[in-house]
Each structure stands twice: as C-alpha cells, then as structure tokens.
C-alpha cells in the first residue's frame, strides 16, 4: 500500500515510556494532523518516523517498505522543524540545494526544482539571502521550500506555526492547506492547537499521554468523541462534564439523574448501560438558558463572556457543578441571576468509568 503506516510502535527514553503501542495509517495524499497536549509524545512520534529517534518496538512502513532501520536521509521523508533549523551560514538557495547535492542530484535538476519551489512559495526574490536576513514568516517558507524540493513521500511539520503572530499564522495555515492540494503527498502536521487541527486536517489523530485516543475526520472527532479526553480537549469552550448520580434503563432510552436530582433522557438505547460511575458530556450549545423553573433544572449565573457574535454564560448548578452555556448575543443574563436551564442530553455523550464514550463502538 502507498503512504505511511505505523504498526504497534513503542518508544521509551530510559525507563520513561513516550509512545505506547501507536498504530496508524496515512494515505499517500492525506493530510493528517496529530493533536494533543504538550508532552504527550507528538514530536517523538514525528522524530521516530523521520528516523531521528529509534523505536523499541513495532514497525514503520513507507509505501509498503519497512524504514524503521534506515538512516533519516534514506527514508524519503522531509520535516519542517518548529525552529525551522535553517543553515545560518548558507543562502536560501544553498539551504534548498543541500539535501539534493547530498543525494547526487544533477545541477540542472536542482536548479529546476528550486526555481519551481521558489515560484510556488513566492520567494524567488529571497534566494540569495541568508536566514538572518529573513522575517519569521519568510524563514518558515524557506523551511517548507527546503522540504518540497526533496519531493518526499512524507512531509512532516512539527508545530510550524507556533512562532508566528496570529495573522500570519492563519495565513500560513491556509497556505499549507493550499500547498497540500497542489503537491498531494502524505503530510503529517503536529499541533496542540485544535483550531489548526480542525481547519487543516483530512483526519485528526488525537494523542494523550503517549497513546492514540482517537483517529477520525474533524467532524467525527467533534461529533463523536471516542473518549472523555477527546471530548474535552476538542471544542472551545470545552464540553461540560457532569457526574451522573444514577442511570436507569427501564424505558427505550437510557435515563440519567444528576446530583441535584435532574432527570434527563439520553439518545442511547437502554441496553448501553454500563457499570461504574458515568459522566454526562454536554457541549455548550446543548445547554440553553430559559425562564427559571421552565427548564430541566435551575442554575445561578456566575459570569458572562460577551464575544460579539455569541455569549458564553458560566453557571453553577445547585450541587456545585459548573456548566457553560452558549447563548445568542445579546444576552440579558447578569451575574447572580437565577435562570432555568435546558440540558439537551439527547445531543450529549455518556462516558464510562474507563473514559470511553458509551456511544462509540467498543474498542
């Protein structure tokens, strides 16, 4: 098969495990985003694929060929480092040519590829400059250009946007998406920014604590999170998590009671019931304000964030649980107000004591 495959890859630094049984596949023209909190092993994953770290167990295959014992330069991968890692003493052109000279590419071919990449990235006028004479955004482009000219089978980015300011970040994000449409190679993009992940990815790999939590399209990740971690990590503001006091399975659907006695009906079949403590996850858009007493329960407004097109209302339920509701702007709620709440549990998720979503197929 073409593309990249990882099979049961594990990696330890001394006694510390950093990757634990990681398996994934990337199509030959797919843009995969690896999303996860700091320290979860994203960079290590990329570096293992690149060959900058050895792996302790498992296999890495590119286009069906095992590469996990090959030197980094022999794997057909290119990487854009977070720091760009441009060679400071070489001009932009020399930076781009270095990798091609090393593998004995003919001079004319090198010139052709550099000209083509420079045109695509609109940096023809920068070719004679040193990295120190470039802005952050321009350096980024050169780093991408240096990767493109190698025509790699797998293109990897380790948090390439984190050194850019907000405006440049969103522009570069679009450029990377455009680049991927044009060059159509497998790309892996590492980030801890969910907006970046959602907007770029064909599929997202969510990682937590050295394991993969879920792999899916951005919509799948958002609408059907496999675990509580994915549910709370993706989405802003984060999904509300409420402990379930009691779950009953006497009707067609599973019913849950919250700590304050509020009874809610979920969209899960009654048969999905599980032993152990359950937790109900509700996105802010599934929590709506209404007149006191008219909803499923009542709550006190703690504070209100007005964001222009929408408002986040932070609320405390009677038993001390906190939720965030998404309200249309303008919203008249004031801190201290008593309000009614509609909790749309049918749109919510139930998580078992192992953190898995009861809706998701068992893993």
């Amino acid at each position: 098969m073409s593309g990249l495959a990882l099979r049961n890859v594990s990696k330890r630094f001394g006694d510390t495990p950093v990757l634990d049984d990681v398996s994934l596949e990337i199509g030959a023209d797919e843009l995969l985003v690896v999303l996860g909190p700091s320290g979860c092993g994203k960079s290590t994953l990329l570096r293992a694929i690149a060959g900058l770290e050895t792996i302790d167990e498992g296999q890495i295959l590119i286009d069906g060929v095992r590469v996990d014992r090959l030197a980094p330069g022999k794997r057909g991968v290119a990487m854009v480092f977070q720091s760009y890692a441009l060679y400071p003493h070489m001009s932009v052109r020399e930076n781009m040519a270095f990798g091609l000279i090393n593998i004995g590419t003919a001079r004319a071919e090198i010139d052709r590829r550099i000209a083509q990449a420079a045109k695509m990235l609109e940096m023809e006028h920068l070719l004679g400059r040193r990295p120190s004479e470039l802005s952050g955004g321009q350096r980024q482009r050169v780093a991408i250009g240096r990767a493109i000219v190698k025509e790699p089978k797998v293109f990897m980015f380790d948090e390439p946007l984190s050194n850019l300011d907000a405006a440049l970040r969103s522009r570069t994000r679009q450029e990377i998406a455009g680049l991927h449409r044009r060059i159509r190679t497998a790309m892996i993009f590492v980030t801890h920014d969910q907006t970046e992940a959602m907007s770029l990815a064909d599929r997202i790999v969510v990682m937590n604590q050295r394991r993969i939590e879920q792999i899916g399209t951005p919509l799948e990740i958002y609408a059907s999170p496999a675990t509580e971690f994915v549910a709370t990590f993706v989405g802003s503001p984060a999904m509300n998590i409420l402990p379930v006091a009691q779950a009953t399975a006497d009707g067609a659907f599973l019913r849950v009671a919250l700590g304050d006695g509020t009874q809610l009906e979920t969209s899960l079949p009654a048969s999905a019931i599980k032993d152990g403590a359950l937790r109900l996850g509700l996105r802010p858009e599934a929590v709506r304000l209404c007149a006191p007493g008219a909803g499923d329960t009542n709550a006190t407004v703690e504070f209100v964030e007005f964001l222009g097109d929408k408002t986040h209302v932070h609320l405390a339920l009677s038993r001390g649980d906190r939720v965030v509701a998404l309200a249309a702007a303008p919203c008249t709620a004031r801190p201290g107000d008593e309000t009614g709440l509609v909790l749309d549990a049918a749109a919510g998720h139930l998580f078992g004591s192992d953190g898995r979503n009861l809706k998701a197929a068992p893993a």
Binding site: A50, G51, L52, A71, P72, G73, K74, V77, A78, M79, F81, S83, A85, L86, Y87, P88, H89, F98, G99, N102, I103, S132, E133, R146, K150
Partner: protein, 276 residues
Amino acid sequence: MGQTRHGPGRIAATAALALAALIMAAPLLWTLLLSLKSNAELLRGTGTAFAPPYTLQNYADIFGHSAVFGWLLNSAIVSLGVTFGVLALSSLAGYGFARLRFPGRDVIFILVLFGLAIPEQSVIIARHQMFSALSLHNTYGGLIFPGLAAPFGVFLMTQYFRAMPKELEEAAWLDGASRFRTFWKILLPLSLPAQATLGIFTFLATWNDYWWPLISATNSDMYTLTVGVASSQMNFAQTNGLGFLMAQAVFASVPILIVYVIFQRYIVAGVSRAAA
C-alpha cells in the same frame, strides 16, 4: 560612566584608558625608536634615540646577513603546524564529547579538564627524555607535538558544539548528509568564531613560546625567533649592537601583527553574525 557624552566621568575614564594605552605602548615605541638609530650612536647613550638622525641601516642588515630569516621560517612552520593541528584535533574531540555517546565519555572529558591544571614545568623532564628517546629534538615534530595537547581547545570546542542547536544537525541528516559531512559542512563553518579565537591564541602562544624551543632546539638552525633573538641578546657584546637587536625584535613582531589583523576580522564577523 557619566550620563552625557562629555560628562566628567567619561573624561576621567578616557584619560585613564589613554594613560594605560601609553604605558602599554611605551616599550614598543622605545624598541621601534632604538631600531632606527645607528649602533655607533647608541653606544654613546640611548638618550640619543629622541633626536635624528634616524636610519634604516639595521633593517638593511637583517636582509643582508642574518639568521633571522631562518628563525622566522622555523617559527612560522611551528606556529602554523601547532595552530592547525590544535584546531583540527580540538574540533574533532569537541564534536565527539558534545555529540557522540560512548562508554567513558564523561570520565575522559574530566581527564582532559585535569590537563588544564597541569603546568608544563612539572612534565618537562619526562617530556625531554621521551623526545630524546624518540630522537625528536631539533626537529619540527619535536617543536610541534607538545603544543597539540590542548585541553583548553578541546574544552572550548566541546562547549561551543554543545551550545549549537541539535536540530541543525538533524535537519542535515534528514537532508541525507552523513555524520562527517554534517560536521564538515554545517558544524565546522558555524564554529568559525570559536576557531578564530582558538587559532589566534594558539598561534600567539606558540609564536611567543620560549621555554620548550630553548630546551628542544639546541641546534641554531632549528631555533625559533624567540630563542634566536634571545641568543643574540646573550652574547650582546659580540652582536652588531643594540639597534640591530631592536630591529630584529621589531621584525619578529610584524608577522604577529599581520596574523592578528587578519583573524580579528573573522572574530568581528563571527560576533556580528551571532548577533544577527
């Protein structure tokens, strides 16, 4: 320092610096002045140096008939040999200590650092005997080899390579460069400022070294400049005189000036590149 450009603090500091510069420069100027006087006049008293007539005869004498050229050549061979040897060895060793993992690395590095604390005097007899046994006295090898053991150079290059971002090397590996090519094409050019510093200090120290060449080079053909000039000072009465001696000293220091001026450019370039 004073707050304003012309504050009293600044004037005082400038005056102090000027005085210090004068004190440093005085012997050099004195040497230069004496070298421009005829030997006969200087026999009457060195006070005559402050008044004309001045002459270039002493310099002409050097070009005419003097062992100075041979000594100069010896000094150049030895100093350049030691300098390039130290740069090559320190860079390789520094890279090894900074980037390779091998058993005993840290212990060996500490041993190298101990080398900094061992004075030459304490090993000179053993070294002399060793070089005798190997018949290395009165050879260029005998003058060069001891200088190649340069713990400070190894230490400096180790620290320099350690401070370089690892990602540069990793990028080069991903670019298909071998370990040696990465070292040669990426790390070594980037270490140029450190090389220049180490090179200048090694060159100056070797050029000015007196003790070991005095011990090892007993044949006057193998004298370095320092030993040679000193030897003419010792039988001062028989030499062509004070002016000639001073002219030799001036002549001997010219190469150092040239080397310093050239390398200084590299230092400035290195520093400004690092700042950019």
